[in-house]
Symmetry: C2
Subunit: 399 residues, 2 copies
């Protein structure tokens, strides 16, 4: 076994999930994650934890959802989408668990591409309580590099493994310290403004070459940012991580944003999604690709038309978009916004924040990749915190 | 996909488990059973059932058990075997399930061969409640043919799939009728005697060439036999099946038995296990191979030294030992006896029968494969029901 797989399992169990003796852990094994599951099993055995292993496969899910839709006579049969039952047996499993380790790593990222959005949305609604039960544990999602993910990234398997472990096996304790400053800025700030140049095709709000395509403001007053240092001890649930995120006040979002980095979601790639917000809700939208998938997300429920998250990538170990959100949204020089559910950790005591069955992140490129230097910026209360993807405490920042 | 995989999934869901709309089903997916899991997911979706998928892998289990044993300082460290905790989260899953479909099909049948028996036994004890919860559902175990199982059988993958589907895709309704007669005989009978010639090396009780190596008697008074027609509707939980089994009165077993068909168990093959019973318990034992593994089984608990099952194979579609119990014990012309736990379905109302954490089947060859024709026989109350592997209602029977 590649020694990095063992190191990955130890980082996951010890730094990320903080597993202790006696913990009941659910290990979610994706189709291609077997090797990491073996290493995680050994790490859990060493620490005296008790695992249960769940199998997740996009191919299995697709077969189930399409068959249920066919049996319900729709879609295509002109009938309602299937009324999936809540999986109460799964719910019982997760409600009895202390931690959930999701080992992501499939064999075909396009496997869900022919599941109609309304079928996927109906399934997501039936599984909302299961998702909430998972999120009530010390859950962590990580990535086991597979050939399919290498393909999605346009990389050889060998190079992709180097990339993935380069992002995963970091000195998380010292990164956590570096990110504390950004969290402090967001915790103390009231308003965020995101201004960006993209997309690359030159379409901008006013049609002029250097004008911004994105100009979005939102209140973050009273919110608490999460220093996402890849550990539940920091309220962070991804390995790798490297982002600071918070929850916008959901009716405060105003303006227009273009998500000029591609986002593969349910097997479909959404490109250059353009959303205009009024009073916190999406007033209109378009996309250069994947517009129907975006429409399905927006139509899930009331909360899916509002923002649940504002995140700022800080992981300088991630230097490219690979089509996998867990990496992409952590890339330093990007900002992401999520349609749907807000994370409870960001909200004031007693406030529920934006509720939804979905949580779909979309990404804005903040790096200097066009001639329009200086346009792209991230501001807190009118102060430029990042310009052209460079934080003000980094070398090369141009105030 | 091989159309037989779809046919297999439909037989499993409809004939075997009798899954209905609204059922909560746990699908246990072994390492190599992915394709069958996809077909089963579709069948469950069509029928309106709600699945949860569990991952089982001998490699993952081995890693967990060995790491836990190392952390406990033994075995080899001179300490106690690890005290595994009961997996209460798994228990909650199975206690909330209506049916459990176990899709067996690993990638290395020897994977458990270096897990010390006492570690495996400690793990089995911690999982006893989980096993009981699974058995309280409409559970069915089946086999997805894998390359590893073909290798174990000494067959090409192509030939093995033909063999496996030949045993699985039968006319179960008409087989069930054929087996009803044998069940009637066992239900009405008080005493069973098994006399057999083996093993092939010529060792017999009194050293003479034609004397039996096996001569065992047991009471089955008041017991109810199960007509194992591969359906929960018949109290049968294996697909394929094809056996009639009952539970001996556990303190009534007397005599000697040689299990002259090989049995692979926990990665070790047990050959020519020889057990002598007194007052229902194993008084002494030996084996030509795998004696230590047999000793570990016998030492699990009090019940593991007594018999929990007497079974008679009836599936004429199975014509050879392939090293996989689910097939081997169904072969017409064999009798099997299980050390350990009795099945509740065989017991009189209110009687618990033999209790144990284990249930280990061992097989006696009843077919005419030596010159000693006529020695080998299966008797109920002194009447010969089968001689040299031929039932008295079959052509070729020599009373």
């Amino acid at each position: 076994m590649d020694p990095r797989v063992r190191e990955h399992s130890e980082t996951l169990v010890d730094w990320s999930a903080r597993v202790e003796s006696g913990d009941r852990v659910v290990v979610v094994v994706d189709e291609g994650s077997h090797d990491l599951a073996v290493a995680v099993a050994a790490a859990l055995g060493e620490r005296g934890a008790t695992p249960a292993f769940v199998y997740e496969s996009d191919e299995v899910q697709r077969a189930y959802q399409l068959a249920a839709a066919d049996a319900a006579g729709g879609p295509g049969g002109g009938s309602e989408p299937p009324a999936f039952d809540e999986p109460t047996h799964q719910l019982a499993l997760y409600e009895s668990a202390d931690a959930v380790l999701a080992l992501r790593g499939g064999r075909n990222t396009a496997e869900g591409s022919d599941v109609p959005g309304e079928v996927g949305a109906a399934y997501a609604r039936a599984n909302q309580a299961v998702r909430e039960a998972r999120m009530a544990t010390d859950w962590v999602s990580t990535i086991h590099p597979t050939r399919s993910l290498a393909q999605q990234a346009g990389m050889s398997f060998d190079a992709y493994r180097d990339f993935a472990y380069g992002a995963i096996l970091r000195d998380w304790a010292s990164l956590a310290e570096e990110m504390a400053g950004l969290k402090e800025l967001l915790d103390g700030g009231d308003e965020v403004r995101v201004v960006a140049r993209g997309p690359a095709d030159g379409a901008t709000i006013d049609g002029t070459e250097d004008a911004p395509a994105t100009d979005l403001t939102m209140s973050i007053e009273g919110r608490t940012a999460v220093n996402s240092a890849a550990s539940v001890a920091y309220g962070s649930h991804n390995l790798p991580s490297g982002e600071v995120f918070t929850a916008p006040v959901f009716d405060s979002v105003e303006g227009e944003v273009v998500f000029d980095l591609p986002r593969t979601f349910g097997g479909t790639t959404i490109r250059d999604a353009r959303l205009r917000f009024e009073d916190g809700g999406v007033a209109d939208f378009s996309a250069a690709a994947g517009e129907a998938a975006l429409a399905d997300v927006l139509d899930t429920d009331d909360g899916s038309r509002r923002l649940g998250e504002l995140g700022v990538g800080t992981n300088r170990g991630i230097d490219r978009v690979t089509g996998n959100l867990l990496f992409d949204e952590k890339m330093a020089g990007t900002v992401h916004l999520a349609l749907g559910r807000a994370y409870a950790d960001c909200l004031p005591e007693g406030e529920t924040g934006n509720q939804s069955a979905v949580h779909v992140d979309l990404l804005v490129n903040m790096r200097r990749e066009s001639g329009a230097a200086g346009v792209t910026r991230f501001e807190v209360d009118g102060e430029v915190v990042q310009r052209d993807g460079v934080f003000r405490w980094e070398d090369g920042f141009e105030g």
